[in-house]
């Protein structure tokens, strides 16, 4: 439990710092950082029922993309603002490291396993974002069409 609290707080601080790197200001910075915290809390929570990391990545990505769509409308900023920072803690940076490290150690089976796992995580993450943005886009197009009629 203690570990989870430390991880979630680290995600909050890390995301906040990333927001500064991307030159995000004011309320948007706060919302982005809270999204980052939420993302990892959700990831850990889902771990109670879903053991697969890839599946959890996808679900968290969908949830945070939804969060981004909502706050983008509230704060009148592109959705990308929050999608980019709030999902930072899910970017498989450690996967990349362990892939390279096992290549350096000459451990081919582990290299393949890590590389595939890293790619799967990145794919799940991107897919979640795409699913939400496609849904929102079609929903908006449908609404505009009905308004015209």
């Amino acid at each position: 439990m203690m570990d989870a609290i430390i991880q979630v707080s680290a995600a909050l601080i890390g995301t906040l710092a990333f927001g500064l790197i991307f030159n995000i200001r004011g309320k948007k910075l706060l919302v982005g950082a809270l999204g980052g915290m939420l993302a990892w809390a959700l990831f850990l929570l889902l771990g109670l029922w879903i053991p697969s990391e890839v599946a959890r990545y996808f679900l968290v990505s969908v949830a945070i993309a939804g969060y981004a769509e909502i706050f983008a409308r509230v704060l009148k900023t592109p959705t990308t603002t929050f999608v980019m920072v709030s999902l930072i803690s899910l970017i498989p940076g450690s996967g990349l490291y362990y892939t390279v490290a096992s290549a350096l150690n000459g451990d081919l089976p582990q290299f393949l396993e890590k590389a595939l796992h890293t790619l799967a995580l990145a794919a799940a993450l991107s897919l979640g974002i795409v699913v939400v943005s496609a849904l929102v886009k079609h929903a908006t197009a449908y609404r505009n069409k009905r308004k015209e009629q």
Binding site: L16, F18, I21, N23, K28, T77, P78, L96, Y97, S126
Partner: protein, 254 residues
């Protein structure tokens, strides 16, 4: 629509792309502006490295401009202001001089965090992710902070001297890894795994990858491919930087 006006509109598009805008959003904004000024048709083809805008006015005259874009980054505040400016132009159709003034205001330094905040943010980011990925030793976190700050400083410096981005990432990763291995050698830290991961997190092109997939599904295949290749090359450069540092120092074993 005059040549002068088109120049400023194209400048807005270029700056949006440089600040990291989604391509379809840029194309959409420019088309709206064209319609607002009464153009018969507006054609725009944008990628992250090139931009062509062609406008046909009511008299049948066609104006075309093309621009080469050399560097892109992520600057959300600038992007927000450019978006607001594009909406404002669509609504009120101001003259070229007034748009130019507002562009200068957006480019002003006041809209950017000072360099020291950027450098410190890189350090905090690396330290936070060092903890995030399981490090609990104070010295490790401190070294991660230093490594992150060094990376941030190098990114700022390479930006100033317009070093190729891929080469710049390689150097940042290389220098950060060297510092971490040095800390390991003098016995300051027991392991450098989480330090390096923290540094990777502040360098990794996660934005490029997700944006590329989004572009792909929206239909901007060309931009998607460009972004994907750039993201993969950047990730490889970061990995190579670490490998080069390890090989130079003769392994990571103490």
């Amino acid at each position: 629509m005059t040549t002068e006006l088109l120049k400023t509109v194209v400048e807005i598009a270029v700056q949006m792309i440089q600040a990291g805008a989604e391509i379809h959003r840029v194309e959409d904004s420019i088309c709206r502006i064209g319609t607002a000024y009464g153009a018969k048709r507006t054609d725009i083809f944008a990628t992250t490295s090139n931009l062509i805008v062609s406008v046909e006015d009511t008299g049948g005259e066609v104006y075309t401009q093309t621009r080469r874009i050399l560097s892109t980054g992520t600057d959300i505040e600038r992007l927000d202001r450019l978006n607001a400016l594009a909406r404002h132009i669509t609504a009120t159709c101001p003259d070229a001089e007034s748009i130019r003034r507002q562009l200068t205001a957006i480019a002003s330094r006041n809209n950017r965090y000072p360099a020291w905040i950027y450098i410190l943010a890189c350090g905090i980011c690396a330290a936070a992710f060092c903890v995030f990925f399981g490090s609990r030793a104070p010295w490790e976190i401190l070294v991660a902070l230093l490594v992150g700050c060094l990376t941030g400083l190098l990114i700022k410096l390479t930006e100033k001297f317009t070093v190729n981005r891929i080469l710049a990432r390689f150097f940042c990763s290389f220098a950060g890894s060297l510092l971490a291995i040095a800390a390991l050698r003098i016995g300051l830290v027991q392991t450098i795994d989480t330090i390096i991961i923290g540094n990777i997190m502040s360098l990794i092109p996660g934005v490029g990858l997700t944006q590329s997939i989004r572009d792909l599904f929206i239909g901007d295949t060309f931009t998607a491919i460009l972004r994907l290749i750039e993201a993969v090359l950047l990730a490889l450069a970061i990995a190579c930087g670490y490998v080069a540092a390890v090989l130079l120092m003769g392994g990571v074993a103490v």
